[in-house]
Every structure is written in C-alpha cells, then in structure tokens.
Symmetry: C2
Subunit: 81 residues, 2 copies
C-alpha cells in the first residue's frame, strides 16, 4: 500500500518560486502558461502487515502535523491500495 | 484549464531527503511508514483562449525539458479541464 501527500502553499500566500518559474518559462517562449505554483510531493510506502485503517489514520496525522506547515500550507492525501 | 506536473527521483537514485524524513517520522513514533520519497509538484494555470491541444503539447514539452532533469528524475503530467 502506498500513500501520496501533496503539500502546496495556500492560494493567499505569495509563491515567489512559482512566480520565478513562470517568468523563466515565459522567457523561454512558453506562452500558454498563465501561472505556476510549486509544492512538495511525498510518496509514502506503508509497512506490510499494517491494516489500511491504521495506515490511513497515521498518514493523515503525519501529513497534517509533520509534512505541512498549517499557517501557510495545505495538504492533500491519496491512497493506492 | 490547469495542469499538474509531478517530478520525482528515479527509483534507482538514492533519495537522501526521503530517507531523512523517514527516519524522523520513525523517531516520532509513526511505525507504519516503510519508506518515503520526496518529489516536486507544479500546478500550472493555462492562459484562457489557448486550445487544449496546444496547452497539452506545451506543458508536456516544458515538463520534460525544463522542470525535469532526465538523468535522475521522471515526471508525470495530469490535466484538469
């Protein structure tokens, strides 16, 4: 079983890195890009033998408490069975 | 229209950052985590008026040529209509 956690800046927070990428892309001639926001992505493999419920509970908690800074970021968690 | 680009290290490449996160999580008591790999995530908004085909072509190219280092990384692109 695998879990994927996507952490991105809240839409109200300025994403300087995304803005820089956007302007670099525009300088390279990619004209269809209106905006870029960058985030982090974690692929978590679950120990065999752990129940899906236990894994979900643990990954939801660690995504919100450890991988995300709740002041400026939001996270989304997906599970692959 | 939005595109999401996920860039991760190839599975044959050592992910030192992921290993560090895994050992930190294990120290914090998250026992169901077997492995963590970290990647990057880009959310790209497309200019209104650009055709979906043109946008797809451009995002596929920029994901592979600009956002990914093909020697050590792979990328995955998803589109939201």
């Amino acid at each position: 079983m695998k879990a994927r956690v996507y952490v991105s800046l809240k839409s109200t927070v300025l994403d300087a890195q995304g803005k820089t990428i956007r302007s670099a892309l525009s300088g390279l001639g990619y004209r269809s890009v209106a905006d870029v926001r960058q985030g982090k992505y974690f692929e978590i493999s679950i120990e065999p033998g752990v129940s899906p419920e236990q894994a979900r509970r643990e990954v939801d908690t660690l995504a919100q408490d450890v991988l995300t800074n709740p002041v400026i970021e939001t996270c989304r968690v997906e599970f692959d069975d």
